[in-house]
Subunit: 392 residues, 2 copies
C-alpha cells in the first residue's frame, strides 16, 4: 500500500482532492483552462455564436429535436422550473419517492400548491410498474415525477418501462429528473416519450455546479400555455425565445457556459454510447471490488453513475479518505447517514484515479476492521478491478 | 490615434475584449486563477471554511449585521426571491419604475400574483420623494420596490431619502435592487433601514455572472414567517439555515463561490470607501470627456457605476468598438435602443484601460462625424481625462 500525502500537504501544493462523489466531478484540463479565460459580454456576437453551437450539441445528449434550455441555477432550480412551467395550482401529481431526490419532487409540489400523491418506494429499490399503474386511473393526475438515477441510494429507476406504460395515458406528462442519469444511462427523450427532462452541469457534463438544463416535449410546451403556477426567473417560454436568438433571458453565466461549450466538445468526441459504457465499466469494477471483499451493495437495482455500499463507520472512513488521502467520496444522506458510502463513476476519471481511490478505501477498511480485511485481500480485489479496467 | 488590432486578431491571440459594460466586468488575474482551480466538493471541510469566511466578508460590503445569503442564480433570481420570501398573494407593492430594471419589479410582482402600484418616472430621471409620499397613506402597501442604480438609464435613485421617508411608515418594507449599485455608491443597509437588498456577482463583485446576494433585515425576516408566495429553490429560510452551517441548501456553485472568496479579499483590501471613490473618479473622467466634446449625458441624476451618453448611430459605434477595437460598451435598451451608449466604471479597470476605451470611442466619433469631432479635439479631451485620473 502506497502512502499518500496528507490533505493539507496536497493543498499547500495547490493540489485538490480527487473527487469520486456523484457530483461535482473532477475537472478536465481544457475545462479549467476555459474557466480562466477573460470575460466576454453576454450580448457579444462571440457569445451568441457559442450559445448557438451549445444549443445544437445539447440536443445530442438529450436525444431530442426539441430545444434544450440552459438555466443559471443548480439542478433543483430546474426541478422547480419543470413543475412551475407546466402545472397550475391544485393539480395532482404522482411522485415516485425512492430516496432524497424523489422526496424533493414532493417537497417542490407542496411548496407550489400542487397536490402530490406519493408512491413510497423503500430506499434502494426500484419502483414497481404495477404500483404506478394502480394510480393511473385517477383522471386528476397531470404529471408523473420520477428520478432516473436516485443519487441518495445509487438506484436506477425503470424510466423506459414507465414511459411505455404512460403511452396509454396521454394526458399524464412524464417528468424525469435525469440530473445524475443523463449521459450515464440510456435515456431517450424523444423515442421513449419523456415530456420534461432535466440535467445539471456538475455531473455527467464534467463542469462545476451552477448550470442546469431542461427540455420539454411538444406536449409539455402545449401544457405550458395553460400553466398558471407563478414563475419569472424560471419562465421557460421567455427563456426559449431568448435562447433561440443566441441569448439568455437574463444575464448569462458566461464562464460556465463557455466551459460548457468545451465540455460538450469533449463529450461529443467520446460519443454518448461510449460515455455510458465507460460509466458501466467503472460500476462493474466497483461491484467486483465490493463482492470480492464481501461488502454488500445497498441497492437492489444499482445505478451506473455511482455505487452505494454498506459499511461500518461509513462517516469515519469517508472523513479519513478526505483528510488523509485527499479523496472525496460521498456518505449516506438522511436515513442512510453513517450507514453507506457512495462512490461516483462520473467525470473524466482515469483508471489510475479509480484504482487509487479503491486502494485508499481498502487501506481504511483494513485499518477499521483488521479481522475482516487484510492487505493481501485488498490487493487481490484490486487485481480483479484492474482486470476489468483496461490500462488508461 | 493608435491603430488597434482587430477583434479577430485579438481572439486568435486568446486576448479577450476589454469590457466597459455595466457588468460583466473584466476579470482580475487572481480571480481567473481561482476559477481554474481543481474542483472541491461542496460538503468538504475546506469549502465550509471558505463559505464561513465569505459570509462574514459579505456583511462588510452590505454594511449589515444580518446574514448575507449567496444564491446560485443571476440578479433577477434574487429579485424574485426578495418578493417571494416576504409577500403573499394579492398584497400591494409600490414599484418605482424608472427604466428597464424598475419595470422588472412590476413584471415579477405581476407574475407572482401581487398587486403592483407603479410610479412611472421618466427614463433618465430620479423619482421624486413627494411622488412616493403621495402613495404611502394607502394602508395596503406592504413593500416599496426600487432600483438603487438603474442600469438602463445610468441613473441613481435617492435611496437614502426614500429610506428616511419610510421610517414614518414602519409597515412598509423597503426592497432595494442594488445589483449595479452596491460597492459603487453609498448604500447603508442597517443604518438607513433597508429591509431587503440584493446584489449580483458580475458587477461590483468583479466576478462572472452566476451568483446573487441577498440580505434581509430583522423586520423582513419577521414578514417572511407569514409569507405565502410559493418558493422552493429560492427559499431563503432554508438557505439561511444551511449557510449558517457553512453549506448551501442545494449543490453549491463551487467555482464561482471560491472565486468570490478571492474577490472579497481584493475588495476588502481596497476598502469600500476607496472602491466608491474610484468609481466616482472614473465617472468624473467620463463626464469631463463628454462635456468637452459636447456629448450630452442622458441622465439628470447620473450614477457612479456607469455613464449614458446621447450619440448619433449609437449601435454602429458600439459595434465598431467591439469588432475593430475589441472594446465592449453597452448600447441602449428598450426605448433607448440606438440612442445612447453606456460606459461602465466597474471592475478592476486601470486608468490605461479606461483611457484606451475613451480613445477608441473618440476615434469612432471622428469617423462618424468628422464635421463635429476632430482628432485634435479628442486628444484635448483625453488630456482632461488624464488630468483627473492619476497615473495607474
Amino acid at each position: 500500500m502506497n502512502s499518500f500525502n496528507s490533505y493539507n500537504k496536497r493543498l499547500k501544493k495547490n493540489q485538490s482532492p480527487l473527487l469520486l462523489s456523484p457530483g461535482p466531478v473532477i475537472l478536465a484540463t481544457p475545462i479549467k483552462k476555459s474557466l480562466s479565460q477573460d470575460m466576454w459580454h453576454h450580448r457579444s456576437f462571440l457569445f451568441k455564436k457559442a450559445l448557438r453551437k451549445i444549443s445544437s450539441d445539447l440536443k445530442i445528449l438529450f436525444q431530442t429535436k426539441q430545444d434544450v434550455l440552459i438555466l443559471a441555477c443548480t439542478g433543483t432550480g430546474a426541478m422547480e422550473a419543470s413543475l412551475s412551467n407546466i402545472l397550475s395550482p391544485k393539480e395532482e401529481v404522482l411522485c415516485v419517492s425512492a430516496g432524497k431526490f424523489g422526496e424533493r419532487w414532493k417537497e417542490i409540489a407542496l411548496a407550489f400548491n400542487l397536490k402530490p400523491i406519493v408512491i413510497e418506494v423503500p430506499w434502494g429499490q426500484a419502483v414497481s410498474i404495477k404500483e404506478i399503474e394502480k394510480h393511473l386511473n385517477n383522471k386528476n393526475i397531470k404529471a408523473l415525477l420520477i428520478t432516473a438515477c436516485e443519487t441518495s441510494t445509487a438506484t436506477e429507476q425503470p424510466i423506459k418501462e414507465v414511459a411505455k406504460l404512460l403511452k396509454n395515458y396521454p394526458d399524464i406528462l412524464l417528468v424525469v429528473d435525469a440530473i445524475t442519469g443523463l449521459g450515464a444511462m440510456e435515456l431517450k427523450m424523444d423515442k421513449w416519450g419523456i415530456d420534461v427532462m432535466i440535467a445539471g452541469s456538475q455531473k455527467t457534463f464534467w463542469l462545476p455546479a451552477g448550470l442546469a438544463f431542461i427540455c420539454l416535449s411538444q406536449k409539455a410546451w402545449k401544457k405550458n400555455l395553460s400553466s398558471k403556477l407563478p414563475k419569472y426567473y424560471f419562465d421557460l417560454n421567455k427563456e426559449r425565445q431568448a435562447q433561440q436568438k443566441g441569448e439568455t433571458a437574463f444575464s448569462s453565466s458566461v464562464s460556465l457556459i463557455r466551459a460548457l461549450s468545451v465540455s460538450l466538445k469533449l463529450l461529443k468526441k467520446k460519443g454518448l454510447k461510449n460515455l455510458i459504457i465507460r460509466t458501466e465499466t467503472l460500476k462493474k469494477a466497483c461491484h467486483i471490488f465490493c463482492k470480492f471483499l464481501g461488502l454488500e451493495l445497498f441497492s437492489s437495482k444499482p445505478a451506473n453513475s455511482l455505487t452505494a455500499l454498506k459499511v461500518f463507520s461509513a462517516d469515519s472512513i469517508k472523513k479519513n479518505l478526505e483528510r488523509k488521502h485527499g479523496i472525496f467520496i460521498a456518505g449516506g444522506q438522511g436515513q442512510l447517514k453513517n450507514k453507506i458510502l457512495r462512490i461516483g463513476h462520473l467525470g473524466p476519471l482515469t483508471n489510475k484515479d479509480f484504482i487509487r481511490a479503491l486502494k485508499a478505501l481498502g487501506f481504511e477498511l483494513v485499518k477499521q476492521k483488521p479481522d475482516l480485511f487484510t492487505k493481501t485481500k485488498i490487493k487481490m480485489a484490486l487485481k480483479k478491478v484492474e482486470d476489468i479496467l483496461k490500462p488508461s
